[in-house]
Symmetry: C5
Amino acid sequence: MELSTLGEQKSLLRTLAPGKRARLHRLLFEFGPGNGSLLLLPIDQGIEHGPRDFFPNPASKDPEYQFRLAAEAGYSAIACQIGMATKYYGDYAGRVPLILKINGKTDIPNSDEAFSTLNASVEDAVRLGADAVGYTLYVGSPAQAADLLQLKEVRQDCDRYGMPLVIWAYPRGAALDKKGGQTTFYAIDYAARMAMEMGADIVKLNMPKIDPEKDGLTPAPYNEMDVTQEEAIRHCVESAGRALVVLSGGSRVDDDQLLGQTRMIMEAGGSGVIYGRNVWQREWNAAVDIIEQIKETVSSTVRRVP
Amino acid sequence: MELSTLGEQKSLLRTLAPGKRARLHRLLFEFGPGNGSLLLLPIDQGIEHGPRDFFPNPASKDPEYQFRLAAEAGYSAIACQIGMATKYYGDYAGRVPLILKINGKTDIPNSDEAFSTLNASVEDAVRLGADAVGYTLYVGSPAQAADLLQLKEVRQDCDRYGMPLVIWAYPRGAALDKKGGQTTFYAIDYAARMAMEMGADIVKLNMPKIDPEKDGLTPAPYNEMDVTQEEAIRHCVESAGRALVVLSGGSRVDDDQLLGQTRMIMEAGGSGVIYGRNVWQREWNAAVDIIEQIKETVSSTVRRVP
Amino acid sequence: MELSTLGEQKSLLRTLAPGKRARLHRLLFEFGPGNGSLLLLPIDQGIEHGPRDFFPNPASKDPEYQFRLAAEAGYSAIACQIGMATKYYGDYAGRVPLILKINGKTDIPNSDEAFSTLNASVEDAVRLGADAVGYTLYVGSPAQAADLLQLKEVRQDCDRYGMPLVIWAYPRGAALDKKGGQTTFYAIDYAARMAMEMGADIVKLNMPKIDPEKDGLTPAPYNEMDVTQEEAIRHCVESAGRALVVLSGGSRVDDDQLLGQTRMIMEAGGSGVIYGRNVWQREWNAAVDIIEQIKETVSSTVRRVP
Amino acid sequence: MELSTLGEQKSLLRTLAPGKRARLHRLLFEFGPGNGSLLLLPIDQGIEHGPRDFFPNPASKDPEYQFRLAAEAGYSAIACQIGMATKYYGDYAGRVPLILKINGKTDIPNSDEAFSTLNASVEDAVRLGADAVGYTLYVGSPAQAADLLQLKEVRQDCDRYGMPLVIWAYPRGAALDKKGGQTTFYAIDYAARMAMEMGADIVKLNMPKIDPEKDGLTPAPYNEMDVTQEEAIRHCVESAGRALVVLSGGSRVDDDQLLGQTRMIMEAGGSGVIYGRNVWQREWNAAVDIIEQIKETVSSTVRRVP
Amino acid sequence: MELSTLGEQKSLLRTLAPGKRARLHRLLFEFGPGNGSLLLLPIDQGIEHGPRDFFPNPASKDPEYQFRLAAEAGYSAIACQIGMATKYYGDYAGRVPLILKINGKTDIPNSDEAFSTLNASVEDAVRLGADAVGYTLYVGSPAQAADLLQLKEVRQDCDRYGMPLVIWAYPRGAALDKKGGQTTFYAIDYAARMAMEMGADIVKLNMPKIDPEKDGLTPAPYNEMDVTQEEAIRHCVESAGRALVVLSGGSRVDDDQLLGQTRMIMEAGGSGVIYGRNVWQREWNAAVDIIEQIKETVSSTVRRVP
């Protein structure tokens, strides 16, 4: 499978209006690993999964833990919901940028018709001094009509306020389950493109998984392609065009795997990583240690100029 | 199961905007047991269950009964719906704070897709001189999309008017029934976290029940944990972070049990109790008596500084 | 079954804002039987049932018939929908008060998910010089979420304009059918309470029917209670608290029964009756006759001071 | 079956606000057959049925055909949707009044839950110089809640702008199919009343069909009545009260039948006819001819004074 | 089957308000083949199908590819979604007109209830300097109620801003599948008419396919007609009235077929073609070549004066 001959994506920042550019500059150059790369700390698992993710490291149940980690170990930004931002961000304002996630849901009902409604607004983000908003889009869900319509309002508010828009682009829903599920290259690639076409400045993707059985259920030509995971990521990065791409780690893996995948993501054109449980499910010192290693890996392997 | 090593939650009041702080101060220090604790009287059973709860004490059918009890026996606040607040609160204004519950529903249809729409607004609460609004959130209901979206508007109005937000956080719905139901530690713990993340200042929870059979159906690690009820409450209190937690009594129990559970709640970090039927299903003198004992228990066992 | 020991409900009028009080005063004291009682003429059957109710007395198909009856025989008010109010009320303005019913539906689909959307607004009522608005609430319907939300807007507009709110509180829907149906004491009692809690100034109820078989399906303690119809009505009146209660006659019955039930309603604390078909399905003179008898009965048996 | 003894409906025009009266005057007296009668040309079949209705007379596919016919043969008004009004009415403005139909749908899905959403507004009608708006109401559809709510806004806008409201009142939907279907006297009579009660100034009905088998399925007393078609029409006219009634021709019939039914409609109290396919499915000269005959019939048999 | 005797459709431009006329003039005369014809480049496949359409020519995954093609090879306009317009159109502003497509969806769920919600607004189009907006209408979908209502707002905004409205009129949905599916002459003809009646200035249609088996399932008279594909197109053009019609190519075909169909479209009264994959799935030089041939064909065969 030949890749694009047009070379790297053109600069994102150059196309942005001043407000978006000023805010993204902080994430890309003033905090975290810098060099135009991103290291994001998500702490939305309390709503998306419930407190169960906190038990491996009880200290992590207290939101202070993640805020302190993000600020003291030097993340590019912390991403959380309105309740935590309101009650905890004040003490960390100026010490780490905030991405306000403005929609979410529990995982108690199944994901057949996945849809996350807004629980906060872009205006809330402006008021709290956030440098970006986060929106979860369930690409391909039977509820996509409501989702895309809701995203329209968010995107327009972002344009109005110069607020960067980070889209968590998740393939999801009953219809997708018949086409190989939510982890295939096909599904992630589609999600990357959708996010860009809907106006994302940064796209958050899950790692595409290469699995011949599932890939066989995807539409042509994906069902016949033979790509490595790194090639798959590279395709996804290209599908997102000028929007920057960050990839997540998912549930906890061992350190070598974590750093290895970080390197692969960056070499495939990713602009950074978003690591939550892999970091804050560790005790403080172990967490600080691994963050240091991730930052070094990210800043030494970043290839893309934003 | 080890608990958090970060110690007690930090102060809620310190993080609040002036309006919220002024209003909560009245509930926490000027009325009820004081000392930063809460004793709340709910009288929303007429809508949530119908008049059937009033038959054990016919006098309780007249809303005057609960308003008089709340004012004369010294509750921190009375919580009721718009119709009662409009027609009865006038005579008690200044004598007991009001929490206006602004959504609700009958229990005639089942709870498979539980959702309570608004029947009043935060502005109604402001107009009536209420010191907080109450909102029932059905955590995990298939209707959560509509619920969370509606709550967003309420939360934003609370921010706008400096009105404290009390969330009745109830796990509910068909999907939950397959995961152990609405009374497990898992379910209550999730509800506590959701309420905080959605912006609650006070979270109202039902008592988690320890039941190995039901707990076995909950997601890991809850299905393998071995906690006492008090530990479960403590976890829930921690999940709510800086938001204060009050627990309810449910249907009527005997006095020893009631006072015992009150003590347990307070020692687990609860900020108070919300007792309705356990109080107003008694004749006047018996009701006043038990309230006095509850208040003593609450104020002598409160550990958390709000 | 012992009834409340608190005695009669307190005055409604005393709690009302000036606009509501001025308007209700006209219905309670200046028109109809007076003495604080109500005789209401509903002419919404054309929409709720279709024209079939008019065939027993063909003259009744012409809305003039009901308007003339209401004005000339001296009703407290006539209740109708927007189309009739707009095209016919002009000739009767000042001669009989108007209650504008602002929602409704046909009975062509079944009532499993009963819900009546608005077809007029409180502002329409103000513009037409109405003295109250009428709203049909289907208590316990699976569509209650939409119904209660809609009622909220109506109630708030009533507060804004000083317009009395009359709630037609009808237990209805598939879920209720499993709990004894829509005519039980349980169902009507719940409806009475809901209407008051949602902000009704006047509650319109259907007659509770005592039927051991159906009552056996209702929740405790209703399923074990042994009450007469008059006691049941008295309970419902108490459940409505300060809101006034009027009861309807339903389909046509004989004169003795009609007057007997009128007396029973008034003695049980009802504030009046709302009789449509029982009156206008008669020829003019017969209608005027029976109205006279009803008015005498109502004004001679009214016990409640509004 | 005895008919009303109150005689003819009272004047509609006398009850109308000046704007409505001025506009209706043009339709009733200044264009078409005059004398207070109506001859309306509907050209909404392109959306309601698709272009298939145009094949019998290919010239009719061009909207010019209907506009020219309406203007040159002298209709009271032409009724069409926004797209045609915008692109074709300009050339005929002043030569024939316009009724802007503001909702509609295709007939591709079945009618089980029939509902036509708005595709234009009353303001559009004002801007285009229309003399009335047309709204299709599906009486008895399971979607009636949405329909009636939508009609409310339209009706209020009509009141605001002095715009006459013509309701196409069509019994429809799965529930009705079990009660004899959409063509029975019962169904049409109900529709006539609904339209008037919802605020129609003119009601457009389909011809009631007398069919003992279907009538047997309708509610009492319709299932036992023995009426002629003319009597049925007369009942429907009475059910519409002060609102004027026009009846449609439906698919094409022969000339004698067409003129015969026109006479019957007018003698039963109808205020006119609305004939589309019966007219424009003919070649130009034949169309002009039959229009002349219809106009003569209408103006010579009109009995009702509007 | 005889065609209309009224001859060609009258001028569209003459009926348009100045803003629409000024903008359409650019597309029809200043860019592309000129002479009042249209050659449009759609690049919405990334959202409607996902990136899979880009693999035949990897360079096409980069939106630069289509923008450069459109500008340098001389299209009348490029049609894309908000994300691409925002991030890529800036470099091509003034070099090729923009049609902002303002709704869309993925093809992951099936099309049984097809509906595309808005992801951008007419105001977005104005702000970006677009010369038209594109809207996808699923004619006959069970979701048509929501679709037509949404289109109303778009159409009104287009009127407000003088923005031409291009409707992608696609027959779709479960109900249609029983009537021969989405490619029959019946279905496309209906779609053409709907688009015009809903206010389209330009209608984008897919090619009707003549297939006796499917045509046999369509309503009369379509099921009995014997038309060539060119006659079918001509009918569709007439059904769209004064609105201009462009047809699409669909998936890739060989060059002779492509040019042949282009000629047929233009001779049947089409105002142009909209070719995406048939063009940009080729390498740069091959793409430029075929565009040149298409433009020559279009401008040499255009018959209709807009």
